[in-house]
């Protein structure tokens, strides 16, 4: 009993949950990158993003975690799947890997990782002297509409343009081929 009790202590539970989330991220990322079938990749991406949402929870922002799920998993991944579905043979053509290319990519990736790790471990991370503890979504909303008003507007505009652009590009391509 003791051991079980000790297992279900909150911080232990949190640890286990964290490990699960990390495992989810890594597994998802690997699936997103390695298999040659695109559908697997997308599914891996979804898994990975779910894990990232979990990480966000651990980082103290359930709101962003929710947004992550909504936007990434709910919108982007679904649109990718739609794209795959719409252009029918996409998932059928499985281009073969070229070993040298994979090797090169692995090398570069490792190099980048080493670089990043080096930077991370070499840097003295100093927390800010004065830290506010206001995590509420209300403040976030206020900030968005006051201090980051312009950025918010620009992002919206970018989204609008992107949507228009997407329609025009795919429409134009259809016209030019038909």
């Amino acid at each position: 009993m003791n051991s079980v009790q000790s297992l279900i202590q909150p911080h232990v539970l949190a640890q286990i949950g964290f490990a699960g989330v990390v495992a989810l991220i890594l597994a998802g990322a690997l699936i997103a990158v390695f298999p040659r079938s695109i559908l697997y990749n997308v599914l891996g991406l979804i898994v990975c993003l779910t894990g990232v949402a979990g990480i966000f929870v651990y980082l103290g922002s359930p709101f962003i975690a929710l947004m992550e799920l909504l936007i990434y998993v709910g919108a982007i991944c679904i649109s990718i799947i739609f794209a795959i579905m719409l252009s029918r043979p996409l998932h059928l053509s499985l281009p073969k890997r070229r070993l040298p290319k994979v090797g090169l990519a692995l090398g570069v990736g490792t190099a980048v990782f080493i670089m990043l790790s080096a930077i991370i471990s070499r840097t003295e991370w100093q927390p800010a002297a004065m830290r506010s503890s206001d995590w509420s979504v209300t403040t976030l909303g206020t900030y968005l509409l006051t201090r980051y008003d312009l950025v918010f507007e620009v992002i919206s505009l970018v989204l609008l343009v992107a949507i228009l652009g997407a329609i025009i590009i795919s429409g134009y391509a259809r016209r030019s081929t038909s």
Binding site: C48, I55, Y58, S61, Y72, S93, G109, S133, A173
Partner: protein
Amino acid sequence: MNSLYTYLFLAALLFSLGIFGVFQRRSLIGMLIAIELMLNGASINFMAFNRFLAPDPIVGQIYTLFIMGIAAAEAAIALSIIVAVFRRLRSINIERAQELRG
């Protein structure tokens, strides 16, 4: 779990995997997926700094939100381009897309 380094390494790992994916994939959609991974790595970074270092914990979240917005826009554009390229070349193999070269 309560250390900044854990999150930073996790982010770095995700970013490197994304880079690896971008380089290694031969299909455009695969590359897009890998890019999403990289973006998420960046997001985790922001959120981690937000949690451990930043004076105002709202700012990091806002950045993450923006990243998501940009990612959505990017995905929309990229997918439409992919569809267009596919229509034109009957393939999404990036190595076939060399007509783009100058």
